[in-house]
């Protein structure tokens, strides 16, 4: 919550101010689209650790935060990245080696959890997952949960439908609200006050933003308030939730940003190659993240202008037509 008129700041400043060691965070986007990658890289660069990450299907961003050593606990629905990784590679490795703790939910359950947080409700119900191990198997025990005031005491609760058989439903699974310290989104357009416009699919970004104490918006374009308010029906992030506005062109790269650029197959494939090997991954972190002072430098290391021209979105379709994607 912040009604300041001008929230524009640098990415370094925004991350330093709102993301701390041990913060509970969520990031926007979905698999290979509109992840706030510039912000993810800045978190790694600043060496912030011990994060509790709440993810539905935040493929590339989640995998890099885990690979960068920033995450210690994770609630997640889907750790995959489309055709580029059936299972995200650093995520898989971290879970198998026990370097992060994990709790599994479904995508709809994570959406409900963010929505509950946004609404100020302790939980919301669904029939999804009744009888499955999403209900029966817990990553964090009840005793462990009871000791951490930032965690709900239970993963889920199954209860009889208190309205009898209303809506042909006998039982429901209650999933607990999420209240992140900060949600970080990358959007196409924002003004200095923090009104944001997402073009194309919104995924769960709006609920994630409204569930969080603080919101950082990185944006492709900083737009004049009057221009943005001429079509307020197209704006989906109300400025009152937003604390920081950071213009970062290509801020979702190497994931896509509808209407601006496609995902960068060469960069994603290179990432996959590095992620499979600990030595190569260290080199990736050293050269591409720590070795780049900011996102512009990251892109320069990844083929620069020539590469950006290749993934530039066609104005009609919103993606790069006939891009070599294999």
């Amino acid at each position: 919550m912040n009604t300041k008129d001008n929230k524009v700041m640098s990415l370094r400043e925004a991350i330093r101010e709102y993301v701390r060691d041990g913060s509970h965070i969520s990031i926007g986007g979905f698999t290979i689209n509109r992840n706030p990658m510039a912000a993810v890289h800045e978190i790694i660069r600043q060496g912030i650790g011990n994060l509790y990450l709440y993810a539905h299907s935040n493929g590339q961003g989640a995998d890099e935060l885990i690979g960068g050593g920033c995450v210690s606990r994770l609630d997640i629905a889907y750790g995959g990245n489309g055709k580029y990784a059936a299972t995200c590679i650093r995520f898989r490795k971290a879970v198998q080696e026990g370097t992060i703790r994990i709790e599994d939910y479904s995508n709809f359950q994570m959406c409900l959890r963010f929505m509950a947080g946004a609404m100020g409700m302790p939980f919301l119900p669904t029939v999804s997952s009744l009888g499955t191990d999403l209900v029966n198997v817990w990553g964090f025990s009840e005793a462990e949960r009871a000791q951490d005031p930032r965690m709900p005491d239970k993963k889920v609760v199954v209860m009889e439908n208190p309205f009898g058989g209303w809506m042909d439903t006998t039982k429901v699974v209650l999933v607990p609200a999420i209240r992140p310290d900060v949600t970080i989104l990358h959007v196409q357009k924002a003004d200095k006050q923090g009104t944001g416009r997402i073009e194309g699919l919104t995924f769960a970004d709006v609920e994630q933003a409204k569930s969080a104490r603080h919101v950082i918006l990185t944006c492709e374009e900083l737009v004049d308030t009057t221009a943005l308010r001429r079509n307020p029906d197209q704006n989906n992030i109300p400025f009152i939730h937003v604390d920081a506005v950071v213009p970062v062109p290509y801020g979702a790269h190497p994931t896509a940003c509808y209407g601006y650029y496609d995902y960068d197959p060469a960069c994603l494939l290179h990432y996959v190659k590095c992620a499979k090997d600990d030595g190569l991954y260290r080199e990736y972190l050293d050269k591409f993240i720590h070795g780049a002072k900011d996102h512009e430098a990251f892109i320069a290391l990844n083929g620069g202008r020539e590469r950006l021209d290749r993934i530039k979105a066609d104005p009609e379709t919103g993606y790069a037509v006939n891009l070599a994607r294999g």
Binding site: T31, A77, G82, K83, T132, G139
Partner: protein
């Protein structure tokens, strides 16, 4: 020599399950391709939607993820995850939804594991997890499941039950509190399985040309009834032409 690949066969067999009037929920890869093939071949009035929130996308190029910008282009509506999960739970539209899923393990009742092999906390192999898979499997009346025909994948007992099928068999879903329906067909690189109307146990419904029921049984840990199995018609030249030229000309999935 057959002039089609197993992947093409699987895609076409799945596409034939889809009818006009169906609302198809597809994931990444072959499931999306099957839905595209159905729309272009045998079910022109089927509608595709994605868990990311797009309904009836144009799909001039094949998306490589359900969040690919290609699902956003000329969609009827672009929303968010909530919109997709409402479509599949809505009492009116939900009953027309057919889900397409894949898994690392399946049991005799069509329950699926997409989470771990081994212990949950420190697994031998970690997979992506549920995503929207458990949701669609919990909500919708019909599901197509793609599997590789391997012993380690067709198992008596799952290492982790991610997405519900028919649970313990007859009446299993009702007892659990899930919506009625569940998986209808399992399509592998060798065979097609369906589920008995009463017991809800998997049986062999068909096998591909050149494959015997015995070979299929050798590639599963549990046994199934093979008495109703018949050879499945391979893709026709017309089906293949549309699949190759129109659905995946860049050969990103095929």
């Amino acid at each position: 020599m057959a002039d089609y690949t197993l992947r093409e066969m699987m895609t076409i067999v799945a596409a034939r399950e889809i009818k006009s009037g169906d609302i198809v929920f597809g994931g990444t890869g072959i499931s999306m391709l099957a839905a595209m093939a159905a729309k272009n071949i045998n079910a022109p009035e089927s509608v595709m939607f994605f868990e990311t929130g797009a309904i009836d996308s144009k799909l001039d190029e094949i998306p490589l993820a359900v969040a690919d910008s290609r699902v956003m282009y000329l969609a009827a509506t672009n929303g968010g995850l909530f919109d997709a999960f409402i479509t599949m739970q809505n009492p009116i539209t939900g009953s027309h939804v057919i889900g397409i899923l894949g898994a690392a393990q399946i049991d005799p009742y069509g329950n699926l594991n997409t989470t771990v092999i081994g212990n949950y906390v420190k697994p031998k192999t970690r997979f992506s997890g549920s995503g929207g898979g458990c949701d669609v499997a919990s909500f919708v009346p019909r599901c197509i499941i793609f599997m590789q025909q391997e012993r380690k994948r067709f198992v008596h007992k799952l290492d982790y039950l991610t997405s519900p099928g028919h649970m313990g068999g007859a009446d299993g879903r009702r007892k659990a509190g899930l919506r009625e329906g569940g998986p209808t067909v399992v399509i592998t690189n060798m065979a097609v399985f369906r589920f008995d109307g009463l017991t809800k146990r998997m049986y062999l419904a068909g096998y591909y040309p050149g494959i015997t029921p015995q070979q299929i049984l050798e590639n599963m840990e549990f046994t199934v009834d093979v008495s109703k199995a018949a050879e499945i018609a391979p893709p026709t030249p017309e089906e293949l032409k549309i699949l190759r030229d129109k659905c995946d000309p860049q050969k990103l999935i095929l």
